[in-house]
């Protein structure tokens, strides 16, 4: 018993300060991409050729990158002779609309909060059921980590629950394999309305590396009305947390004041 108490003292309080304090991210972290078509040479589309998932659209005079397909591998950056694409350390990437994941010269929108009625319902207590539908266990792992002492998700009133009957929504990972489609849809059906759907990771948004495979679909939005898209492969836990808090209107942009969103 004494050893348990000593260990408790020594291990200390380890919950991060976020969202009151800015997150600590590795220096090589690849966050929000920015593109600058003005730097492109005419006729060059090396970035689009390097991209494993067809996330880059490079047609005459334009350059855009779809974060919903992006694996954040930076193969495009490596192959671009002009430095027209770069990945910033910006972690706030979750959006409400699929189209807002497409990064071009214009600044895209960060996730807006749910409508007033939904916020009244979910704002202080949101219970989620997670369904992995072909996820590789990386997105799942970084969702799981939100419940550890480091992120302590329950301090925001958000919890992952065991039964869809107890849930206010589902969090989908994976490209939705043919073999999991029915189980996903039945789980969604079992959640009482009103309910929300959150797609986490490139697979759940677009199919990711598995786009076009006959064995799986192109993500959750093919089957379900998605309310929040969290891009990444996998997204950093902070990106997921930021998205959840934005959805609930819990980010009063205290973080935003500390550093304007790049791009």
């Amino acid at each position: 018993m004494l050893r348990i108490l000593t260990a408790r003292l020594r291990q200390g309080h380890r919950t991060i300060g976020y969202p009151d304090a800015p997150p600590v991210l590795p220096d090589r972290y690849r966050g929000l991409p920015v593109v600058n078509a003005a730097k492109c040479d005419d006729g060059c589309a090396k970035c689009a050729q390097a991209c494993p998932t067809g996330a880059i659209d490079r047609r005459k005079g334009t350059l855009s990158l779809d974060m919903g397909k992006c694996l954040f591998c930076a193969a495009c950056v490596e192959d671009c002779p002009a430095g027209a694409i770069s990945f910033t350390s910006e972690h706030r990437m979750a959006v409400r609309n699929r189209a807002d994941l497409i990064v071009s010269d214009r600044v895209s929108a960060m996730a807006a909060a749910l409508d007033e009625k939904s916020r009244r319902l979910f704002g202080r207590s949101l219970k989620l059921r997670q369904v992995s539908a072909g996820g590789c266990n990386a997105c799942e792992a970084d969702l799981n980590v939100l419940s550890t002492v480091v992120y302590d998700l329950s301090r925001f009133g958000i919890q992952f629950v065991a039964s869809p009957r107890h849930a206010d929504g589902v969090v989908v990972t994976g490209p939705v394999t043919a073999n999991m489609k029915q189980a996903l849809l039945e789980t969604y059906e079992a959640v009482p309305a009103p309910k929300i759907v959150i797609a986490v990771g490139a697979c759940a948004i677009s199919g990711g590396p598995y786009i076009g495979h006959p064995e799986c679909g192109g993500g959750a939005a093919e089957w379900l009305p998605v309310d929040l898209f969290v891009p990444g492969c996998p997204p950093h836990p902070i990106t997921i947390l930021d998205g959840l808090l934005r959805l609930l209107g819990r980010m009063d942009d205290g973080v935003k004041a500390k550093g304007d969103r790049a791009g």
């Binding site: 590795p26 591998c73 480091v150």
Partner: protein
Amino acid sequence: MARPTGLILHNASAAPTERLPVLSVSELREAVIGGVAAGARLAAFFCASQSGSSSRLVAVLAHGASSTLEAYAADVGREYPALTPDCPAAHWFEREIAEQARLSPQGHPWLKPVRSQSQKKAAAEPGVTDYFRMEGDEIHEVAVGPVHAGIIEPGHFRFQCHGENVYHLEISLGYQHRGVERAMRGPITARSIHYMETLAGDTTVGHATAYCQAVEALSGTHVSAHAHVIRAIALELERLANHTGDLGALAGDVGFLPTASYCGRIRGDFLNMTALLCGNRFGRGLVRPGGVGFEFEPARREEMSRRLAAARRDVTEAVNLLWDTPSVMSRFQETGVVSRSTAIELGLVGVAARACGLERDSRLEFPTGIYSFAQIPVSAVETGDVFARAFVRWLEIQRSLAFIEERLATVPEGVLRSPVATLKPSQIAVSLVEGWRGEICHVAMTDAAGNFAAYKVVDPSFHNWMGLAMALRNQQISDFPLCNKSFNLSYCGHDL
């Protein structure tokens, strides 16, 4: 009859396919059944190609004692006498062969698909298939999954119970099937490395390394010692993160919250060290054909050393609480026992095998890269129970920590990433990596144009799922979560 000799390969080496002996079915049976009986392991067994009514089967035996791999081929018709009745380690492979190549291994005792890749319809219905059933008034059946209570991947578990007692557990997988092996056939594309990195996301470094070793063998690419050291550090960090997370989860499953919450955090500390290397917590972007994608500068090494020392202190304290707590030990000990003989028969690998006293570890038996020069002792425990699987992890955590600390002291200089030539035509390469769950085996075969004619992936989970089923025999059904966590097998790594 003397056992036929196969094509002898070393780990991560290639040879012309024409040197692969094509045996008759009875010779193949003799070679594999006899080889396994003499102590070899069946590392891979698959259908490499089909033409007309003829199918070419390829088997790879792993001889740990001589650090050699032995490959055989045989052409079979629609039916052939199954190996499984004489070599149980072949049972899952032959179910896969029957499903993928639509062959009929005659005499296989339980020939049903391993991935629910129904040929008739696009999607399989969850849990709808034939299961082994017991009859009797007091017998009841429990069905769990594919959607589970926690944040985990999908699989279906069917228990045949008498009261609380489990007589039989059947595990039905395939929900995660994404078509990786099919997509790997043909030329290397921009997606190939990403298939490997997401094959089992928690084993990104392990599978990416197995793939890169195969590509390097097939293209004759030399990888610098510098890059090998960075790969090995990343592989051990992956082991540290997952083993630490597993020990925390095992503690959670028996309601011992101190270790559960500390290890949940410390696991993240290890993942963040991988992110220090490459920006991603799972090692995405780090291992690339020819070497690695990121520099490992002296300042970064110092930072990792500092973090490693802190994590060593924390994990030692957190994990040792387990062994000192009688309520934990009474739940771990004698729960979910797999006997040594069962482990040998099924061909278990990795932590599950070493927990049955089998000294199987590819890092020592089939070393590549820096493991050829810096050996890690095998951590084995004899008891085969949940405690053994937990304690093997703890021994391995300590050895991985020591290994990384040693590597950080002297990182040899060298090229970060060597250019990779095109793949040589008509070759076969076998690549083994000891991932945190156990032996990862990739077998790559090229065609006359130098494209992949076949790409076979054997995740350690493929060998070990049956081990979990055996561990549940005569256990309380309430011990299933604990037993399951003590194996912590991959669903997507199996389903591919």
